[in-house]
Amino acid sequence: MKEFKFVNAKTVQEAVDVLAELGDKCKLVAGGTDAMLMIRDGKWNDLTLVNIRDIEELRGIKLEGDTVTVGALTRLSDIESSDILKEHAPCLWGAAQFFADPTNRHSATIGGNVGRCNTVGDTLPSLLCLDAVVTIVNKDGEREVPMSEMLLGPGRTACGPNEMIAKFTFKSQPHSAYMKYGRRRSMALSMAGSAVSIEVDDKGIVKWCRIGVGNAGPKAARAYKAEEAMVGVDLNSDKALEETMYKVIQEDISPRKKPRLSNWISGEYRRELIPVLTKRAARKAAFGECMLCKQEEA
């Protein structure tokens, strides 16, 4: 027996008030592309659905100086068509090109993708490599959580039951890219994904990088050891990368020898796949394109 109530929150204030009062007896609904499935399957029941889709103040992409802000209710379709993100966060812009399908992108929001914290959420690796800061609001005000501390596990984030995600902020990183591996060009859940933000010198030697990996384990995560291993490595050399990043990233992300089967792709295959995706993402980020693969753009 389905038992729901509905509240239409038109402003952030209205939303945080409801959240303060109801906590985990309510669920925020933005685009609905995930929420409606939870309702349909009976996983959510006996609670209040809070529509936040009309909260204008949480939508939009801004560039101020070299800082980019993306509102939590910004739709993936707006991210896909954003010139600001194409230039300043191509990893996120690129992720949007392959996120679900164009129709779903008119509904899906970046805040929803992060809030649901699916293992294969397509915006997560990019936000990780961008080292984004998540602004979370509640009745008492707001607080900031670095993206690297935001994702706690499948379906769990640092956002509490009385809180909501307001926006994501990060520095402009034009040398960033996301490589997704999925079964199809469209409407494909990621089987694995790697996002890299990087700086190389004019010979292609890595100065620093940040790597966000999707579907490497129970949650998308930073590959810290691989990031360290990349420093000083010649990005043009397959051999150099195999001897450094490849070895370490497999330990980084899935310490078990045989990680579990997940999303139709075996742990073993992912262990082989993720280093390669990371290499390609790093090259695309640093050089503008990857020598071996030209991932189509929409």
Partner: protein, 162 residues
């Protein structure tokens, strides 16, 4: 104990309507319960696209849209577009001309997505068309003729014939 129904006021196919719904109802359910049978129920999980409608001008999948959240918003369906929008009517004819229709079940979703493409992008570029309607599935036709029809209208738009 039964759940309390609520009312939602929105515009559907140009008309102001008030639907009485359950708080958790999808837009698909609300539309069909109110005689908009041209909006089809396919997978109900946001994949097949046969439930596609325009919400404030953008193609969305009504099976994963909360009906209550559409308060104050505007919805257009395949039939409504065909009756009120010249471009949509032309596209519907093009589907017939190009032999794009077999069993017909996916067609309402494709028409709406096609209209969305023509109004928001409009290039007679098969690759772009294919990408835009990639959220719509067809088990009969193999898609060729559907893309032909959308391309045909896009070309007519480019030539200023529409």
């Amino acid at each position: 104990m039964s759940a309390e129904k609520i009312k939602v006021n929105l515009k559907v196919n140009g008309e102001d309507v008030t639907y009485t719904i359950n708080p958790e109802d999808t837009l698909l359910k609300a539309l069909r319960a109110n005689y908009n049978y041209d909006v089809k129920c396919g997978c109900e999980i946001g994949e097949c696209g046969t439930c596609t409608v325009l919400l404030d001008g953008d193609a969305v999948k009504s099976c994963v849209t909360l009906a209550a959240a559409c308060e104050g918003h505007e919805v257009w369906t395949d039939k409504g577009l065909g009756e009120n929008d010249k471009l949509a009517a032309r596209l519907q004819d093009a589907f017939v001309e190009c032999g794009s229709v077999q069993c017909g079940f996916c067609i309402p979703g494709f028409i709406v997505a096609g209209v969305g493409y023509l109004k928001n992008i409009g290039n007679p570029d098969r690759k772009m068309i294919r990408n835009y309607v990639s959220g719509n599935l067809c088990r009969c036709t193999g898609y060729q003729k559907i893309i032909d029809a959308i391309e045909k209208v896009a070309l007519e738009m480019e030539r200023g014939e529409i």
